[in-house]
Structures are given as C-alpha cells and as structure tokens.
Symmetry: C2
Subunit: 237 residues, 2 copies
DNA sequence: CGGAGGGGTGTGGTCCGACCAAGGTAGCGC
DNA sequence: GCGCTACCTTGGTCGGACCACACCCCTCCG
C-alpha cells in the first residue's frame, strides 16, 4: 500500500488529465485519432465508463468528436470547435442568470467595435477577408425571409470578426452571437412588418461595409455599435 | 414499436436536453438540488450511466457541482461557475492550436481597455468596485515572491473588470487570464532579477490605478494596454 | 475474370447489476 | 442524557454484456 488512495482524485479526472497532457504536449494533434475507449481504459487501468466520462467532457469542450465505425473518420478524433463549446457555455449561464442580457449587448459592442476597426485597418493584408465580408453582405440582399436573413446576418458579422485575422476574437464573436440566438434574435424578428425592418438592417449593413472598405475604422466601429444597440434595444430597453 | 428509434439522438443528449430545459425554464435555479442520479435515470427511462455523462458535461460547463453524502450541500447542485469552464476551454484550444498566443494578447488588450475605460467612467455608481481595485493594488505592494505576486496581479486585473459592473466581461477576463497562466505568466516570472521587475510592475499598476481613480478613461486604457503588451511581449516577440 | 453478396471485425453507445466511500441520521444501549 | 453504532442516501467505480453501425475482405456465382 504505497499510496493509490490518498486524497483520491477521481478516476475520470485522472483520465482527463492524461488526455489533456497528450493534447498539450502536441502528441495528439488536430486530425489525429485517439486510441479506442477500451484500449485507453486498459492502458490507464480505469474502467471504460471513466474513460467515457472524460471523453464526454472533452467533447463538450469542443476538442474531440466521436463516431462509430471503422473508417478513416471513425473513432474519436481531435477536432477543435471552440465556438460551439463557448457558445453553449455562455448560453447556459445566460439561462441560469450568471449574467444579464445587457452584459451580452455590451460585450458584443466591445467585440464588434474592435473587429470593425481592425477589419478596416487591415488593408491589403487580408484582401480575402474583406472579400468574404462583401460576399456575406451581398448574400444578405434580396427578399429573404426572417430565418434566411438571420443566418446571413450572422455570417456577415462573423466575417467581419474573421477579417481581423484574430481567430480567438472570431470564435468569441461567434460564441456570443450563438448564445443569444433564439433568446433575442428570433424574438426580435417576430414583431412588426418584416420587409421594412429588413430594408433598414440592409442599409445599416451596407453603411458598415462602406466604412470598412474605405478604411475608416472609427466610423465603422461607431456604425456597428449603433447597429447592435438598435438591434438589442427593442427588447432590453 | 410506435417510434423510439427514428434517427435516435443519443440517450445522454436526451438527458442533457431535459436538464437544460429545466435550467432554462427557471425550474431549477442556482442553489437548487437536482434529483439523485438514480431517480433522474428512472424518470427519464435512461440508464444511470447516460445520466452521469450528461451531468458530467454540465459540470464541465460550470453549471453544476456534485458531492456525495446526505447533507445540505450534498448531491448535485446548480452552482454557476462560468469563468472556470470558459478558462479551461480556452486553455485547451490554445494548447491544440485553435488560435495562437498572440490572439490572446490582443483579446486581453481589447477586454482590459474596455474594462479600464468603463471602470474610470463608472464614478460613484460603483464606489465599492473602485475600492476593491484599490484593495487589490495595496495587496500587491510589499516584497511578495513571484507566486504570491502573480495571484495578486490577477486579482487586480479581475477587480478592474468587475468594476465595470459587467459580469460577462469579468468572467471573460478571468477566463482569458486563466488560459494563459502557466503558459505565459509563470514562464515570464522565471527569468531575470525579480525585485526590479516587481517594482516596475508595481509602478505600472499604480499608474493605471491613478488614471482610473481620476476618471481618465482614455489614459487608463492606454496605460493598461502598454502594461499588457510589455508583459506578453517578452515571449511572443 | 469480375462484381455482388455476406460474414467478420472494430468502434462507439447503452444498459444492468453490483459494490465502494462518504456523510447524515436515527435509534439503541450504557 | 449522551455517545456510539448501525443504516440510509448519494455520488463514484467497476465488469460484463449486448446493440448498431461502418468498413473490410473473402467467397460465390454469373
């Protein structure tokens, strides 16, 4: 009895730690396959259930993806998907009153002001980023219904965030937007005449785009802030 | 065989959805106790293992906390802890190259500029917030060792974020800071003479504080940005 | 010789039943 | 009346089994 049971740190946590260690050390990289659950369990001296709980946690954190079968994509694979994971966490805590909706509005303003300014200042460094913003903008024109417009709207804002070249900010923007979808956006699309509202939103988006395209960072930031506040304002205040 | 197996959506996901529904609807609020695993399993017609996996996910998302026993705090309780959960997700994805360290620096700058500006502008609205910043600042003086100083340093920055009154921003700040602890901060504390570096950091912190206390939002933001960049700069280049 | 069918195999998904450990409680005996 | 001991509840863990699915390979028939 050398040790083995002194302040025992939960078996599944041991597994988790082991896997995270492999991920952090770079031994297992995105695209790699983890060992089968059974093998991992045997190797670590844990039950399969403990392994499964650990893997489930990593899955919830958007680091791995599991799939049955024998093929190339089968098994448990390292597949980073931060935005989904972050979005779910934020959404849950929003539901559970960890913070109010108004905080989310402010956070969005902060993030998207930053993004707009950075995108406007990026110049030729990220021509492709600017092109994607424009593509998203054009996809939003026409007489889309609320659902389709909502998706295109999200794509537009995310494209701006991505154009900053800062992936973390892009993920955070996506996540925060995801967290309030359904709570806010869907509700907001629900009242009033649709075509006029859509037209107004389209105008705002075009105005934001032109400021970014002109390299007018401050103006773009101000416009996107006004856009967001108007959007959230109908409900919160 | 009316249905039961048509595009079957994973048992544990069904449990997850059920619990999230209760959380979102407000039926289960922070502080409440969830039913025992066995009862939940029976009620949902799922196995205990499936229930456990779902609860494990929620635990990883920082929404619940489990504990054995019969007492008041025992069982599975709704206990929101967003920062820890967010921090772990970010940390993992940083390790797995979802985004580079430089992105984290930029995100920190964005968040903390926002926080500093907001804290400076808050005025008497949040006198207690300002007091807490000051308390954190004073706790940082003296000849602390690297570890103690690191903790106090974190407390100072988090206090500023909290003073904004925006809990979400506070959580995000804590999370981002948490994600780079160990990777960056510890490494950075490791080289060079300690007392001089500490003195310089103390000076910077005092300068930030005085700007906030004076209500000079822009100045505070600039100072905290310089502070962060200097801090991260030693490693990233 | 070639293609279609079928069985074998590997993988995650699920369930059952059991036991352990920790913490509280109630009841029993001194 | 007090202390101690059984017992109960609850999460934690384990082993074994079976299912569903996807792929692989081998065989058999045209």
């Amino acid at each position: 009895m050398t040790d083995t049971r002194r302040a025992r740190p939960a078996t599944y946590e041991m597994v988790l730690e082991h896997v995270e260690q492999r991920l952090t050390s770079g031994e297992w990289r995105p695209g790699d396959r983890l060992p089968p659950e059974r093998e991992l369990a045997a190797r670590l001296g844990a039950s399969r259930q403990a392994v499964r709980e650990a893997l489930r946690v990593l899955q919830a954190q958007g680091v791995i993806r599991s799939q049955v079968g024998t093929g190339a994509d089968s098994g448990t694979v390292v597949v980073p998907a931060p935005a989904r994971a972050l979005g779910r966490v934020l959404q849950l805590h929003l539901a559970v009153d960890s913070f109010p909706v108004g905080d989310v509005t402010e956070a969005r303003v902060m993030l998207e002001r930053f993004s707009a300014e950075a995108a406007a200042g990026s110049g030729r460094d990220s021509a492709s980023g600017l092109l994607q913003i424009r593509a998203a903008l054009e996809a939003m024109d026409g007489d889309l219904d609320r659902a389709a417009f909502g998706a295109a709207d999200a794509a537009f804002h995310v494209a701006i965030a991505r154009a900053t070249g800062n992936r973390l900010v892009g993920e955070l923007t996506t996540a925060i937007r995801e967290s309030v979808r359904g709570t806010l956006l869907d509700a907001m699309y629900g009242d009033g005449d649709w075509p006029p509202l859509r037209a107004r939103l389209q105008d705002e988006h075009h105005a934001i785009w032109s400021a970014i395209a002109d390299g007018a960072g401050g103006l773009a930031a101000d416009r996107i802030e006004a856009h967001i506040r108007a959007f959230h304002g109908r409900l919160g205040g």
